[in-house]
Amino acid sequence: MMQKTLTRERASSWSWILQAITGVLVIVLVGVHMIFQHFVAAGGLRTYADVVAYIRTPFFLGWETIFLIVVTWHALLGVRAIALDFGLKRSVERVFNWILTIIGVGTIVYGLWLTFTVISRTS
């Protein structure tokens, strides 16, 4: 009887709600990102000096940081959805969730470190 093979305690609508919300946000975030990286920049690609000047601008620093967080979140929620499609046991799923969380936090930390490093370069 299926009830015995599965535990159905957890409510997981938040994964879908967040997936949808972050997805819609990404559309806006990536749209502006693309426009400013490629249409505002002369020749469509920034030189090193352009990049540093860009990321030092408070508005874009904020925008790119939010973009990084939201897109990483959406991407890893998506990876999780694909994996769950293959019927992971609850114990495996828990481990998997933790791994994805660590990867996500690590990605964001890396991105912030990279941003900070570029901003603080004097040459």
Binding site: S12, W16, D85
Partner: protein, 243 residues
């Protein structure tokens, strides 16, 4: 004068202990026939060991579900005139069910899942008239499409999530859950919501809509699933904002 069509029926065969393969049967069918008649003709004239499910022959029992040229169909109501004279029809059992033999699958996965939802569709006989025409519950037309379900399993066969996740509740049980939520008649609504609001419930549906495409009874399980997602998500928001 009746026109006749000739077909090559390429039928999936499997008997326990031997390898699966296809057998091809030539049949000549009148235009009024359905694909199930053609399969029966092959069984009757050529190979009595062919096993396939069938009962009512008019799309109300849900027994005969299978795939014709890779597409889920009820062969009892699929006319042979859908296919040109001389065509080869490849007949396969439904996907995502354990195979018993030839075209007959084990439908247990379907019934296990509907049982989990409480199989709430047994209407006790209710008089049609009671001081005038009996009034049906408010808004029932929005969600009683499920009452057309004949439990044929074509939706489970067509659903890509059913293929990947052995625990997925699937279109039948989820559409059934919408019906139960709308008119519980003694079933605990919260227990149904807890059942479907789960990683192996609603959230394994990725909106392929294949179930609605193949349903022979116009149940629209995909629509039911989307409405359920709205109901469950709305509940979450309301809880968050304390209402």
């Amino acid at each position: 004068m009746t026109m006749t069509r000739h077909f090559q029926l390429r039928i999936y065969r499997y008997k326990p202990g031997s390898d699966p393969h296809y057998d091809t049967f030539s049949v000549a069918m009148p235009d009024e026939a359905n694909v199930l008649d053609a399969i029966e003709r092959a069984w009757d004239d050529q190979d009595r060991s062919l096993m396939f499910r069938h009962a009512c022959h008019h799309a109300s029992c849900g027994s005969c579900g299978l795939r014709v040229n890779e597409v889920e169909k009820l062969p009892c109501v699929t006319p042979v005139t859908d296919y040109p004279d001389g065509a080869t029809l490849t007949i396969d059992p439904m996907r995502n069910f354990p195979l018993v033999t030839d075209l007959a699958v084990d439908a247990a996965p379907l019934y296990e899942r509907t049982r989990e939802v409480g199989t709430p569709i047994m209407r006790e006989s209710e008089p049609l008239r009671e001081n005038g025409l009996r009034v049906l519950p408010e808004g029932i037309a929005d969600f009683n499409r499920f009452e057309n379900c004949i439990e044929c399993g074509l939706c489970l066969s067509a659903c890509p999530s059913m293929a990947a996740d052995p625990f997925y509740l699937g279109p039948v049980a989820l559409a059934m859950a919408e019906r139960a939520l709308a008119e519980p008649r003694g079933i605990d609504r919260q227990s149904i919501i807890d059942l479907i609001d789960d990683e192996h419930g609603l959230w394994r549906c990725h909106s392929a809509f294949e179930c609605t495409e193949v349903c022979p009874s116009n149940v629209d399980p995909a629509g039911a699933i989307m409405r359920l997602k709205r109901i469950v998500a709305a509940k979450k928001f309301k809880k968050l904002f304390g209402r």
